[in-house]
């Protein structure tokens, strides 16, 4: 019996100690009180919020699978086609209206919580931290409004207790113009709190103004061009559709924000290519930066030419169209159309392929790689096949190849080391992208990757914004701003004497190529449908002439082709002007109004 008591006692002791035993502390979770009494931890929270800001940068963020948003933006427009694996991306005949989905309210909640908790804290730098969070919130709302039109605006954090009415959590969409207004007011307020120094990594006065410049330009052009459509896109509650009458005030707001920046001491880097390959604080207003070893991106290894690739099996995903190439003018201001035939219809025989690309807009050489262009001390080797003279048919026969660098029995090239081929990871059009390809040694290694930044706001965009707003406001300064941008591209001073809307469209296309502007510019000007419908996109394939005895022997001819992998034309439908509201959001909030066509 004594023994039994002992057992019971032992059991009780064990049980009591068990409860303490089960209290375990996590090693990577920090309590609220700890975080908000420490400046470093608070800026850690801010770093997280920065890292989550919705910019279409180099790294895959999930909603296009392993493809980054930057690449998706490039190939969904008239800039480039997809030459990676999964050829299906070239089969996007009708743009999925849910693409570009960004219902980023988890981020908004955390931003609001940050602002609330920082306000209650005693941190020294809290005013600036709060202003930075408000900038990120304005940026997120802008990225949403440019996709969806008006969205619900939440400026505080919510919570739910069991039994609470759900209705107070159901916030309806604001109108499109109210959303833009909210962004404008926020930015105006914080522009005076944020530091006025240069430096593109954190929000400054200048980045706030740059966002305002762009957002107001979007609002203004939407107000103007939507209403110019024969059948404007409007929802009854104006969640989509801004009154035409507001366009002027938005242009003015944009113009004034741009002017403040222009007076703020920024200037254009004389070398356009270096804007993207150095950390240029004078032209770059706001960018997503990368730093070894942790914050790196794979754009370079995913898009290098095969002969320059540092990583096996990771050739090029993005292949620029001939149409983009031809958009770059000759330096004399004439059209950049590539000549393949003489006026009489006979082919032009080029001694070297690169002869076809002489004397063009400097930005072309910084943006696109073509046959014979020199980069990273190698020449890009593009050859699509041989044209062999057949004396019996009195015409040329094509000899095509199967693999890169293929030669014939006499060791004459058939296929260039860099293609083109109807294959993945090699150009399908005869061109490669150069912009954003890092020149750092090892940037093309999967293990090392690249650290060149992703531009979000840069000075030349502000000049173009100013030019566009001034043009719409009939201000004469417009021409000067545009010519400033053209001057850097090698056109000389005052190269344009007169400004048209088409000039602005053209200049943004070439200056801001591949930077994620094109798709949204086409939308806000309401010219996306006309740009895409019926458009065939092309590549330019060089062939070497095999005709011994002829003067043209071993010369090149160029042929415009439709790449075989590009098996569907791109189209843009009216419903693509506004991304559809995510279905989950709709089913969870009955107050959300659907977008047109949804």
């Amino acid at each position: 019996m004594k023994k039994n008591k002992l057992i019971v006692l032992l059991t009780l002791i064990i049980f009591a100690s068990c409860n303490d035993y089960l209290n375990r502390e996590p090693y990577d979770i920090l309590g609220n009180d700890v975080v908000w009494s420490d400046e470093d931890l608070a800026s850690g929270v801010l770093a997280n919020l920065y890292s989550r800001m919705p910019v279409d940068e180099f790294n895959a963020s999930g909603y296009h699978g392993d493809l980054s948003n930057a690449e998706f933006n490039m190939l969904i427009t008239d800039e480039a086609m997809w030459s990676g694996d999964r050829n299906g991306l070239n089969g996007v005949r009708v743009l999925d209206p849910y693409y570009y989905s960004l219902w980023n309210y988890g981020h908004i909640r955390d931003l609001n919580l940050f602002i609330e908790k920082a306000t209650q804290s005693n941190l020294l730098l809290k005013d600036e931290l709060i202003a930075e969070a408000r900038f990120l919130r304005a940026l997120t709302y802008f990225e949403m409004v440019k996709r969806y039109g008006g969205v619900p605006i939440l400026t505080k954090s919510y919570s739910y207790e069991p039994g609470q009415s759900i209705q107070e959590l159901q916030i309806p969409r604001s109108t499109e113009s109210d959303t833009y207004d909210f962004i404008a007011i926020e930015l105006t307020e914080i522009a005076n709190v944020l530091p006025a120094n240069k430096g593109f990594r954190r929000a400054t006065k200048w980045s706030a103004l740059a966002l305002k410049s762009r957002a107001m330009l979007y609002a203004a052009s939407l107000a103007k061009y939507n209403n110019k459509m024969p059948n404007p896109i409007i929802l009854p509650g104006k969640e989509v559709g801004i009154d035409a009458s507001k366009s002027n005030e938005y242009y003015i707001a944009s113009y004034e924000a741009s002017k403040q920046i222009i007076e703020g001491g920024f200037y254009l880097n004389p070398d356009y290519f270096n804007v993207f390959n150095t950390k240029d604080v004078n032209e770059m207003i706001f960018a997503k930066d990368y730093l070894e070893p942790d914050i790196i991106h794979g754009f370079t290894y995913r898009n290098a030419t095969p002969s320059m690739a540092e990583t096996e099996n990771n050739g090029s995903n993005i292949t620029p169209y001939l149409e983009l190439v031809e958009a770059y003018q000759n330096l004399d201001g004439t059209s950049g159309k590539i000549e393949t035939t003489n006026p009489d219809g006979t082919p032009i025989y080029y001694a070297k392929i690169e002869d076809a690309f002489k004397n063009r807009d400097y930005r072309f050489y910084a943006t696109v790689l073509y046959g014979g262009s020199n980069f990273k001390s190698r020449n890009v080797d593009i050859l699509a096949g041989q044209k062999i003279w057949n004396s019996s048919t009195w015409s040329y026969d094509y000899k095509m190849g199967m693999s890169l660098g293929e030669t014939d029995q006499l060791y004459r090239p058939v296929i260039g080391l860099d293609g083109p081929l109807n294959d993945k990871n090699v150009t399908n059009t005869g061109f490669y992208i150069k912009k954003f390809i890092s020149t750092e040694p090892g940037a093309g290694l999967v293990t090392k990757q690249a650290t060149n930044y992703w531009p979000i706001f840069r000075y030349s965009e502000i000049l173009l914004n100013a030019a566009e707003a001034a043009f719409e406001l009939n201000k004469p300064e417009a021409l000067g701003y545009l010519n400033q941008v053209r001057q850097r591209a090698g056109f000389g001073e005052n190269s344009l004497k007169q400004l048209t809307f088409e000039d602005i469209v053209h200049e943004r296309r070439v200056e801001l190529a591949f930077e994620g502007h094109r798709f949204f510019d086409l939308k806000r000007w309401r010219i996306a449908e006309s740009t895409f419908i019926g458009q065939d996109f092309h590549g330019l394939y060089p062939y070497i002439i095999i005709n011994e005895g002829s003067v043209n022997h071993l010369k090149y001819v160029l042929e415009k082709v439709k790449p075989a992998r590009l098996f569907e034309n791109k189209t843009f439908e009216r419903k693509n002007y506004y991304t559809f509201i995510p279905t989950d959001a709709i089913s969870n909030n009955p107050k959300l109004v659907l977008n047109p066509g949804q």
Binding site: T11, Y21, D28, L30, L41, Y50, I108, L169
Partner: protein, 1143 residues
């Protein structure tokens, strides 16, 4: 020092001797020397030189013991060792020495190995004045085959008096009273007791360890007689596990127990089968009383296992948390008290090959379908007819097919296994020590798995009734292989290489083995580039040590035992991988040079250090009592365990291929994580049997988990079980039933247990997560992000599992036939889900935390039968087991359906899970005309992409469009088979024996996808089965006639083009049934009379094989293969030659 060496008194002297012997055993054992250490070997070989003049006999004996390994056993009452003797022997054998020593005395001796028993020759009759009739009993012990059994312990019950049988199984014990009872014990045999009575000769046959109702079975926290068991409990013993050449214990368990399914999706070196009990999920493993995971279980050496018991129903509930999917209880071997030292050595060598691997196209087939693909897709091709013809002819040396499969797969890949153990015991101590080494090469060059195991189990009696035990096991596991260029499973890349490399390409530039060829996009799978020398290698090592220290006290209260058990486990994982810069070449025929045109500069180094430590402590009291009609078996225990997992990962870029250490400036990244968890429980169980007939068992467990807030932390989970041995009833025993059924029991159990899996560790914590996202905040300044956590989950608690089981156990035909059958349900309540009726708008940016809301149930049955008998010298047994289990969803939280079709299709409540949804195929188009007139839009494009041969699908709702509304249930799930079965056959005849295990499964599907069905995926090769396809007579001529084939034409599938080809449908689905000869072993045991000649106790020669035969209805891949694309490392078939000796 005076030694008291009475016969039968096992004093410290014998203990010392025993330890000395053990040392010797271990010594020989680890040297692995198979040499003569036999019974007469030592005495024959040892030569002694002794010279004594008028010495005391005792001193002489001492001297002999010191000079040799002989030791003397005698009873001082009978043997006078005080007398003086003379001795002069030079280089004499022991019998010569002893003959000289005892020539003038009454002492006689007998030598058994190193043991010399001295007796008084004059007193042999045993007559001595002790007031009681006493005599000498002698006899012979044999096994059931009639062979003599040496080494059997014979002890007079209740005393410490006894002996060990000699070489011929003979024994002799003097001075035994008539009332005495002799106990006979031998490892692996059922112990027996014999009343001496009038007999002076007792010959005895020992039979193999009991199997019937008397068998003692390991259960949770104790053991129980099979007759008293109320749960669904099956067990296997060591000999059933080791007769296979499987490298993991899990694979060795395949097909042996009804209701245990073991599916092996890969045969990679070191891989194991995935074991499930009743298809419930991953079970809990309890190894020597300690809760462990599958990794620890799989890597125990099968030869070290004494028994494995599977607790399938509520009987598992006693183990609480983590036991909701059943428990596998493993006990390792222990030495037996009072048993001779025994050494076993087992070695086998084997050769492995894949069971089945898809065939690839040759270059003629491949070129043919590439041309066809181009023509079908683009209407033109860059292949010329000239090239095409050359490839078809294959006579030009430049146009010959290369067989990559043959180049990549290394046939007859070797595998070897060595096991050595030593065991034995005195009356105070017993031990089992073992070492084994497994070495398995991969079928791809450069891959290997090596495992070293040791086990050391030692129990010793500290004081009367108080025993201490130290069980230790450890292993070093080495996996190494080729580092390929891409960051994927490296085995997978080699499998992929077989599919990806074109038969028109060759591995070396200009066929010069010094220059791996640059094959463009396929260089990353060119195995001449990816090998240990060129692209790097990796080694993944686990070093594991487990130590269990136990203290057991048999209290003075009869049947009450107290036990304390503490365990410490340490596992260290060290991964070291280095990727080299590689070069791939192209041969320039013009200049005769090899030019580097490919490869990569992806030099990198990855080092990982993971540690796992576990501590477990348990206090336990068992009570076992039989008193008249009452039997009680009870246990109370409390236990707590914790687990800590620190982890380091380092990444760097070495300066060259040749440097293997990472220095600071080569650093790339570092990750450091840490996890820990803790659980505790209090356990109680009582099993009461009345009149061996009525059994009731009550148990309960009070469990706590670190995963819940203190107020939700603890839960009480009871279980009850009943058993009724109806065969013990009068009406049964007196009826004809008894002639058929020797024993018949109905049993049923119901119990609950708490489960915390799928609950996050710290979901109840509010605050911020550290290290979430990083951002460059300034020049060279990266800030580590800290992220707001979601709403804390404060009310999550236990997921409750309820097990119900009803079954019968029956022994029939004089216990020759055993049958056991069970029906069961397992219900889980409180599965986590979110409250979807509280619709939180997405805009507020948070989700409600999960709550315990939903339920599901597994339903199934399992059965097994076992028949054993003999026909003259032929002994045979046949076992069949089967199990079926399927899960259904019971309650979903607030399910909503838009339409009745939606309800019909998507309602999950009360519906079986594991349904494969897809289209019904409806044959293939045969003519273009048929396509043109086909009313159903098959490709979503008005059939403009359709060609003859393409698959038609059934438009079940008749709306003319194929879409998700036409999807129906087309079969069972892929992966886990619902039905599993195994057939075991054992035959033995004289020295020969044959063992066969057939294992099979059904009621599951294989949905072939991607590489297996798609032409030239990744522009690589295609499976040869696709050569049998619809194609045009002349591939270059779009107007030539279509030739029918089994599969659609090439080009019908290309990503994004249309989804007709590979819609999930019956067309590509295999409803699998297979049965395979999992193991077969044929052995021959050399007759003892011969084995003794070479000094060995037993010698066994055997050949065995694994997966040698498979009958299935899938013709392309192994039926158990996991990957649906056919790319992978399927199971291997192995053929082994082996030898096992005991001495």
């Amino acid at each position: 020092m005076k030694k008291n060496r009475e016969l039968g008194v096992w004093d410290s002297y014998t203990l010392k001797k025993c330890l000395k012997m053990m040392k010797w055993s271990v010594f020989f054992f680890f040297l692995g020397i198979v040499q003569v250490l036999a019974v007469d070997g030592y005495s024959q070989q040892t030569k002694l030189t002794l010279k004594f003049n008028q010495a005391v006999l005792e001193d002489v004996l001492n001297e002999i013991e010191n000079k040799s390994e002989f030791y003397f056993l005698y009873n001082q009452d009978f043997v006078n060792t005080k007398k003086t003797v003379n001795l002069n022997v030079k280089d004499g054998k022991i019998d010569e020495v002893l003959n000289a020593l005892f020539q003038d005395t009454e002492i006689s001796y007998s030598i058994s190995d190193r043991q010399i028993v001295l007796t008084n020759a004059e007193n042999k009759s045993g007559v001595k004045n002790s007031g009681q009739q006493q005599k000498t009993v002698s006899g012979k012990v044999t096994d059931s085959s009639g062979a003599s059994l040496p080494g059997v312990t014979v002890v007079v019950k209740g005393t410490t008096k006894g002996t060990i049988t000699d070489v011929n199984g003979g024994y002799s014990i003097p001075n035994i009273p008539e009332k005495a009872i002799l106990q006979f014990a031998f490892v692996g045999m059922k112990g027996q007791e014999v009343q001496v009575g009038d007999n002076s000769t007792i010959n005895l046959t020992l039979v193999d360890e009991a199997t019937g109702v008397e068998e003692v079975v390991v259960i949770g926290y104790g053991t129980q007689k099979r007759e008293s068991i109320t749960g669904a409990i099956s067990s296997v013993k060591t000999d059933q596990l080791i007769s296979s050449s499987e490298t993991s214990l899990a694979s060795a368990l395949v097909g042996k127990i009804g209701g245990v399914s073991a599916r092996q999706t890969t045969g990679k070196p070191g891989s194991a089968a995935d074991i499930q009990i009743r298809n419930l999920g991953n079970p809990l493993y309890v190894i020597d009383g300690i809760q462990k995971d599958a990794g620890q279980f799989n890597n125990i050496d099968a030869n070290d296992i004494e028994s494995i018991t599977v607790l399938k129903d509520a009987s598992a509930a006693i183990y609480g948390i983590q036991a909701s999917n059943g428990v596998i209880v493993v006990n390792t071997k222990k030495g037996k008290r009072n048993s001779p030292n025994q050494i076993n050595i087992n070695y086998r060598k084997g050769w492995q090959n894949f069971t089945q691997y898809p065939e690839m196209m040759n270059s003629a087939q491949w070129v043919d379908h590439m041309v066809e693909r181009d023509m079908n897709l683009y209407g033109a091709t860059s292949w010329t007819r000239e090239e095409y013809d050359k490839w078809q002819q294959g006579t030009d040396p430049k146009y010959q097919s290369f067989n990559w499969k043959k180049f990549i797969i290394k046939p007859n890949s070797p595998q070897s296994y060595l096991h050595m153990d030593a065991s034995g015991g005195t009356d105070k101590i017993n031990y089992y020590l073992s070492y084994s080494l497994l070495d398995q090469s991969g079928l791809f060059d450069g891959f290997e798995f090596k495992r070293n195991n040791f086990q050391s189990n030692i129990q010793a009696e500290l004081a009367h009734g108080l025993n201490i035990g130290m069980d230790m096991n450890g292993r070093i596991e080495n996996n190494d292989g080729v580092m390929t260029m891409v960051s994927r499973d490296h085995y997978y890349i080699f499998s992929e290489a077989i599919f990806r490399n074109r038969p028109t390409e060759r591995p070396y530039a200009n066929d010069n083995p010094d220059y791996p060829a640059d094959n463009g996009n396929r260089t990353y799978v060119n195995t001449s580039v990816i090998n240990k020398k060129k692209s790097g290698s990796w080694v993944d090592t686990w070093r594991v040590l487990q130590g269990n220290l136990s203290l057991t006290y048999d209290t003075p209260i009869k049947g009450l035992t107290a036990k304390l058990l503490g365990s410490y486990y340490f596992a260290g994982n060290d991964y070291d991988g280095q990727k080299f810069d590689t070069k791939a070449y192209t041969f320039n025929k013009e200049t005769n040079e090899y030019v580097v045109t490919g490869g990569n500069a992806n030099r990198s180094k990855l080092r990982k250090f993971n540690n796992v430590t576990e501590n477990m402590f348990r206090a336990q009291i068992n009570y076992l009592r039989e008193e008249g009609d009452h039997q009680i078996n009870a246990v109370v225990a409390a236990e707590m365990s914790e687990r800590k997992m620190p982890n380091f990962t380092l990444n760097g870029i070495p300066t060259t291929n040749y440097l293997t250490l990472i220095k600071t400036n080569e650093f790339n990244s570092l990750a450091n994580t840490y996890e820990e968890n803790a659980r505790a429980g209090i356990i109680g169980r009582v099993n009461y049997t009345y009149k061996n007939k009525y059994i009731v068992e009550l148990s309960g467990r009070y469990d706590g988990s670190y995963k819940f807030l203190p107020e939700n932390r603890w839960g009480l989970f009871p279980a009850v079980a009943l058993g009724y041995r109806i065969s013990q009833e009068q009406f049964w025993t007196s009826s004809i039933l008894n002639r058929v059924f020797n024993d018949f029991k109905i049993r049923s159990s119901y119990g609950k247990l708490g489960d915390d899996t799928n609950v996050g560790g710290f979901d109840y914590f509010d605050g911020y997560n550290f290290d979430k996202g990083k951002y460059v905040m300034g020049d060279n300044q990266t800030i580590i992000g800290i992220e707001q956590r979601g709403l804390p989950a404060t009310n999550i608690s236990w997921i409750t599992t309820s097990n119900f089981n009803i079954g019968i156990d029956a022994y029939m035909l004089n216990q020759k036939l055993y049958f056991s059958g069970d029906f069961f349900t397992r219900k889980r309540d409180g599965l986590l889900a979110s409250k979807n009726d509280i619709v939180i708008p997405e805009e507020v940016g948070f989700n409600l935390p999960l709550a315990n809301l939903e339920s599901d149930m597994n339903i199934g049955w399992d059965a097994s039968m076992d028949y054993r008998d003999k026909l003259g010298d032929l002994k045979y047994s046949l076992g069949i087991n089967m199990g079926f289990s399927r899960r259904k969803t019971l309650d979903k939280y607030n399910p909503k359906f838009a339409t009745s079709f939606d309800y019909w299709k998507n309602n999950q409540e009360n519906r079986w899970q594991g349904i494969m949804w897809g289209y019904f195929s409806d044959g293939q188009f045969t003519t273009q005309e048929e396509i043109d007139n086909y009313p159903i839009d098959n490709d979503g494009k008005g059939n403009r992409d359709m060609r003859p041969g393409d698959i038609k699908y059934k438009d079940l709702n008749g709306d003319g469009i194929l879409n998700s509304d036409d999807i129906r249930a087309i079969g069972y799930q892929s992966g886990l088979p619902l039905l599993n079965y195994g057939i075991n056959l054992n035959l033995s005849w004289k020295g020969f024996d044959l063992y066969m295990l057939w294992q099979g499964a059904g009621m599951y599907n294989y949905n072939s996808e991607w590489e297996l069905i798609k032409p030239a995926p990744g522009d690589g090769n295609s499976t040869a089965i696709l050569a049998d396809r619809w194609h045009r007579e002349d591939p270059f001529d779009l107007n030539s006639k279509w030739i029918p084939g089994k599969y659609p034409s090439t080009g019908s599938w290309i990503s994004g083009r249309n989804n007709n080809y590979d819609r999930r449908s019956e067309f590509w689905l295999y409803n699998i049934n297979y049965i395979r000869l999992k193991n077969i072993e044929f052995g021959y045991n050399i007759s003892k009379s011969y084995s003794k000649l070479i000094g060995l106790e037993t010698v066994r020669l055997y050949v065995n094989g694994t997966n040698l035969l498979t009958f299935d209805n899938i013709d392309i891949v192994d039926p158990e293969l996991g990957n649906t694309n056919g790319v992978g490392y399927p199971q291997v078939k192995t053929f082994n030659l082996g030898c096992k000796v005991t001495f």
